[in-house]
Symmetry: C2
Subunit: 350 residues, 2 copies
Amino acid sequence: MSSLFIPPPACLLRPLEVPHRYLFGPGPSNVSPRVQASGARQMIGHLHREMLEIMDDIKKGIQYAFQTQNSMTIAIRARVNTIVKLPGGYFTNEEIEQALYEHKPVLFFLTHGESSSGVVHPLDGIGELCHNQNCLFLVDAVASLGGSPIVMDKQGIDVLYTASQKVLSSPPGTAPISFSEGACKKIFNRKTKPVSFLLDMSWLANYWGCDGKPARMYHHTGPISGLFALRESLAALSEMGLEKSWTQHNKIAEHLHKGLESLGLKLFVQEKSLRLPTITTIAVPPGYDWREIIGYIMKHHNIEISGGLGSSSGMVLRIGLMGYNCNQANADMVLMALRDALKHCHKSKV
Amino acid sequence: MSSLFIPPPACLLRPLEVPHRYLFGPGPSNVSPRVQASGARQMIGHLHREMLEIMDDIKKGIQYAFQTQNSMTIAIRARVNTIVKLPGGYFTNEEIEQALYEHKPVLFFLTHGESSSGVVHPLDGIGELCHNQNCLFLVDAVASLGGSPIVMDKQGIDVLYTASQKVLSSPPGTAPISFSEGACKKIFNRKTKPVSFLLDMSWLANYWGCDGKPARMYHHTGPISGLFALRESLAALSEMGLEKSWTQHNKIAEHLHKGLESLGLKLFVQEKSLRLPTITTIAVPPGYDWREIIGYIMKHHNIEISGGLGSSSGMVLRIGLMGYNCNQANADMVLMALRDALKHCHKSKV
């Protein structure tokens, strides 16, 4: 076998090292022991009866978390891109109505939990405005679902999606998504073919048993471990109950905000009702270098917090306390770390 | 909180059940205890230094497994579609040369391990034929990599990909892929934009540190657990060594083939040198219903074997013994199960 000219790499002959970290940034979050355990389960076939049952559990769990009766509710493997423009506050329903009237879009897209600015956008009434203009209403709830109230069907949302690695506290890699009847009609009657077989919703609907057909066709091999984990995180949410989860995120956020203010820090979002409970944005304190603060906290406290993203870059620090991480002990830990950082990081004269 | 009208689903208040199964079909395969353990590790940030090191380990591991020096070597999250037409044998190099000359394609695509028919397609010399016609050579090694010799650079392959859930014995969800310099030139000089941001190779190249730029941009949140597992499975392959892995798959396949013939069964691929060592196809024995055999073996032996796929559907039974599953005890177990099935399944007069 002299044909091999690339030897086994030395780095792979060393054991895997995964340091312990408190992930209090905008995501991914730490996962619970229950979710960790599910990741260690042996494989089963991706179309075995038990696997299809687990997928059914997941569908039910998403329907509960989203508060929807849509049968077209699945978990796709997605790379959700959350780089969006900073909205500079929020839009009033009047402004949205005006824009819908002017532009007559087929789809109106709104980010519920804006993770770069820390704003939770109001949702009530917008679905109706959209439907009056024959427009679909799509909501990104990646950073908010489970932590801030969202009630898909009642709010007239046509497409709603989130991610596994935020409030659901699963490993990244799956994205719950649900489609209303109106959205399905649009999708299944499209005249141009989907650009990619892998995101062809009619195949995905069949794979997830959403199309009413008895047989499942082989479309792709689903991420079995990822689905075990998603199932367990939805089960944890079901056991706790959505309302309690919302209350908990709200309570911990308020505790955190109070603590931050008593450290002399300023919250980036002024209006209380617009503050996203899952991810808190703090104005970078004058005279400090945000990179130094973040680096100090990681180095001395093993805690990840994060800087801004996109247009909030350089302006904010971001603390995420989501799902499994959302409790008072963690809030106190990050407050203590921040106090320590403010004391030890270099403060230039301004 | 009277706004909730969908209660927590009862199915999620029951524990997760994952039955033990021997996965001896065409994939996914069972995973090793080492890979299982990696799935239970806590999250770290997707851009933490340690995570980038793990991604570097993976790149090195893929370069070793593929036998390539390409720097553009990454693991994407993919749904690899392996539904292809049954080639009815294989193509000679003369036939390929003739076709390249006639059609002058920009890309020639070949499946190395054809998992539906159980054929391993010869590769030597084809890269040169392609390059003579200014054509790129793309090879699907989903079902063969690690089990049957493939030496990317020496064989002049421009794009090579495989999947995590076959010989690598990781959970499904990641797909190692590598691009030659010629393929990179083609990709990065394309005039039309990629149809999808998520598969934009210039972003992916940056995320995996293949573009030589010092800073990693936020493109997507990588599947952290999936990458832990892929790292561990590539480490296991590095420890064993590619040559030993090829020899082992060959040895076990021969042992299995001999056993099958002594049961009176006929191998679907007649020519020995064309038999894929990872997945064995057996002609459905006359008088038997293939569904009944598969169902019997699953029910009484907890073993998954599979029927055909696409144009081999109804014609073959398929046994996969790959990676962690590839040993003599497993081969003997599936032979015993088949003997039992042939005895107990209904045999109609033909």
